[in-house]
Amino acid sequence: MSEPTNTFEPRIVAFFCNWCTYTAADLAGVSRMKYAPNIRVVRLMCSGRLDPQFVMAAFAKGADGVLIGGCHPGDCHYVEGNYKALRRVTLLKRMLADLGIEEDRFRLEWISASEGDKVKHVVNEMVEKIRALGPLDMPGKHTHWDKEMEELEAHVNHSQKEIPAHAH
């Protein structure tokens, strides 16, 4: 076991719908349930408002995990926004896999307004799984990739300068 994972605290950004999951998280609070303090909730009116770019932005800015919470199928306050969310999430999952982002870092859960305990379980479970995976550090990776690109560019530029010399 390497040292850094011991002090690693995952940062999870959650997008919760106003009517079910945000309310469930309120209920967890009112019921004084205790769960890991690693989650930061962004409130949306509906999980259907979830633009896949929000998820990409969260990962890009340093989130180690992203959690989406919506009403159970058939229970959406806006009839079917959660189905739209489900489709987007399904596509997005494949894309994230291609980018090398582990499956456990991105999760969609249906949590109704009465399921405060489910908020607790899902958050705790997700934190544990991500803790085991270690930091994602996309910003760090970006810096690293940028540096590689710069080096590559510099190399290409350098080679291009040399080509005309040989041509003469």
């Binding site: 998280a25 609070g29 896949p52 306050h77």
Partner: protein, 658 residues
């Protein structure tokens, strides 16, 4: 950016302050770009707290306000008002939830404080993008729909009708009255249930402001607060309601000379004919024909002696069809009640197997003067029981069935103990886990019944078995551990009464979906807030009354029905309601007219302008979910309060390192 943001960190007494270092959070917020002022305060929602915001807006020329306190679902409204009264647009406000989502759910003060800082930073990033918005005002239609005609629906209907409002009361049974109409006496006063209920039922029937539709179902609900369009299906009862006078001549004349079919109102303890009146005080007092048992309706080959008996009144109509009614109402009260726990789910109590095991509701009918035995409490063989066991908590406070306490069973079990003793002189044994009598006059009633010689045994009944296994209608042995005497008790009895708990209606889930409200895990309709909005739901304009929200006794039900009626009245008399301006709109120049958004909208609010070749959103139909916004490939649709910029900045802010 040249914003002047004010940040307020609420202690909420010690609710937040005990787990979050509010002072440190406020000090941290002061260092963030754009923050002109940052304070922590004991109670932000109090009057001085709100005044503080208003004064600061003026004195410090603040143009954005952030309050980090409880959930926005609780106090967003409060602080928006304070912001507006301070002189700036109320939507320049953002709420940060550091109580329900932070202080109350975490145990590490340093980490909880860290989280509060992150959440406030997100808001500080977000608010500069807030735009001034106006709330849309829509008129409230003055009529009210009440679903369910038990005591809750009846009381709410009368309250509203007496205030001059027009009420539609829809009941799916053939009569209003609900469970209360089945009871004999009510605890703890031993008032006769019929004597206090039936006058209210007949007032409902004759009230000029109440349209009562029995034998009817709500089939469709559309619209929003103030403007609901509801379809009600009036099921055929094969009797023309306006022509029937409830004389029962058709019942007597029916070709079935004797009642033959289980009578639903008496829970199958009595018999009825295919044409019947549910009970003598049924409201409306109109006969019903059951298509499942009526020969004419089943085969078309009956002598139709009933039609003959009805004669010139011509109230019988075998060709009656279901009729759909469309109504427009502004508010809705749900009072759909409960069902009793199915005692067969606990097989060792013998309900449905041993013939002298009854539910409490069965006994209500048996001791009732209008019941199948005319008020004689007898065993299946017609004899009076000499000993009776009453089992409390059947289907309540039990890990295997329902964990909750049904609240009414202890009291009604005591009431039944009193009635059984009074009617039969039998030895009565009440087996209870805990005696729960927390109500006005309840404990006194318990003392009174104890004083009457009813045996109170503290112990959960483990088994009910036959004295002679071959005789299923013979005496039974009730076995329980008496936890006060620390002995095993085996009590032989003639009759067992099961104090069944209350459960949500079997179709509560369908009803909930139809009206777009939530349920608790047990299936009860969920109130908006357990203390501050106990009769409201998450859908504006829809209110709850009675047991559909959770088990309760008649006084509480009536009180809640009055509260629901008052909430509806408050909306109606205000005349209009303000809606959240979180609707979506199309930025014309950016729309490519691709039509991706159109099928996204469940409310058909989006259409295509064929001249401009772009999408158009009808603001009146948009409910503000934002699904189209997320779907628009060119980012041409925006949602007020949840614009992309606002959300992206919130994400940036929450993740920006300290």
């Amino acid at each position: 950016m040249s914003n002047r943001i004010g940040v307020y960190v609420c202690h909420c007494g010690t609710n937040i302050a005990s787990m979050v270092d509010c002072k440190a959070v406020a000090e941290y917020a002061a260092t963030l770009p754009g923050v002109a002022l940052s304070r922590d305060y004991k109670y932000m929602c109090s009057d001085p707290g709100q005044t503080l915001i208003q004064q600061d807006i003026k004195e410090h020329k603040l143009d954005r306000i952030i309050v980090s306190a409880c959930s926005p679902l609780l106090h967003e409204h409060t602080f928006r008002n304070a912001t507006r009264q301070g002189g700036i647009n109320e939507f320049f406000f953002q709420m940060v939830n550091i109580r329900e989502h932070d202080a109350w759910v975490h145990t590490d003060r340093a980490k909880a404080t860290e989280k509060a800082k992150d959440l406030i930073r997100a808001a500080v990033h977000r608010v500069p993008f807030h735009k001034p918005l106006e709330k849309k005002t829509v008129p409230i239609k003055p009529d009210v729909l009440i679903v369910g005609g038990g005591i809750a629906g009846i009381h709410a209907a009368l309250t509203l009708a007496n205030a001059g409002k027009k009420v539609y009361l829809v009941e799916r049974d053939a009569t209003i009255g609900g469970h209360m109409a089945k009871f004999d006496k009510t605890f703890p006063t031993l008032d006769c249930a019929a004597c206090i209920l039936t006058p209210k039922m007949s007032t409902v029937k004759t009230h000029p402001n109440i349209t009562m539709w029995t034998y009817s179902d709500v089939t469709k609900v559309e619209g929003f607060v103030g403007n609901y369009k509801v379809t009600v299906r009036r099921n055929p009862r094969y009797i023309i309601e306006e022509l029937c006078v409830g004389c029962s001549e058709c019942v007597e004349a029916c070709v079935f000379k004797e009642p033959k079919f289980p009578d639903e109102f008496n829970l199958g303890l009595g018999k009825r004919k295919p044409v019947f009146l549910p009970f003598p005080q049924a409201t409306p007092l109109v006969a019903v024909i059951d298509p499942e048992t009526c020969i004419q309706l089943k085969t078309g080959k009956c002598k139709k002696t009933c039609v003959e008996a009805c004669g010139d009144r011509k109230a019988i109509d075998f060709s009656q069809k279901a009729e759909e009614k469309e109504i427009e109402v502004g508010t809705i009260i749900l009072s759909t009640g409960f069902k009793i726990f199915d005692a067969k789910r606990i097989p060792y109590y013998g309900y449905g197997t041993y013939s002298n095991v009854f539910t409490a509701l069965d006994i209500e009918r048996l001791v009732n003067a209008s019941g199948p035995t005319g008020g004689e409490l007898v065993l299946r063989n017609g004899q009076k029981p000499k000993s009776v066991a009453i089992v409390h908590c059947v289907g309540s406070r039990d890990e295997n069935t329902n964990k909750y306490c049904s609240r009414v069973c202890c009291m009604y079990s005591l009431k039944l103990a009193h009635l059984v003793k009074e009617r039969t002189g039998a030895e009565v044994y009440n087996f209870y886990i805990d005696m729960r009598t927390p109500g006005k006059g309840f404990e006194e009633f318990y003392s009174k019944v104890s004083g009457e010689g009813v045996h109170m045994i503290r112990g959960k009944v483990a088994d009910v078995f036959l004295e002679n296994p071959a005789d299923k209608s013979g005496r039974m042995i009730v076995q329980a551990e008496d936890t006060l005497l620390n002995i095993m008790r085996k009590v032989p009895v003639d009759m067992v009464v099961l104090g069944v708990g209350l459960e949500a209606q079997a179709d509560a889930n369908d009803v909930r979906r139809q009206f777009n409200i939530s349920c608790s895990t047990e299936g009860w309709f969920l109130e908006r807030h357990p203390k501050l909005a106990p009769v409201n739901t998450f859908t504006d304009g829809i209110f709850l009354a009675g047991c559909c929200q959770g088990p309760k006794d008649i006084p509480d039900t009536v009180a809640q029905a009055g509260a629901a009626a008052a909430e509806a009245l408050a909306l109606i008399d205000a005349g209009s309601v303000e809606l959240e301006p979180n609707t979506a709109f199309v930025v014309e120049q950016e729309c490519s007219g691709c039509k991706t958004c159109i099928p996204m909208c469940p409310y058909t609010a989006i259409s295509r302008n064929e001249d401009k070749k772009i999408a158009v959103i009808n603001e009146a139909l948009c409910k503000g979910c934002g699904t189209c916004v997320a779907a628009c490939p060119s980012g041409a649709i925006k949602q007020n309060l949840f614009e992309d910029d606002e959300i992206f900045e919130e994400i940036n802010g929450v993740l920006a390192h300290v």
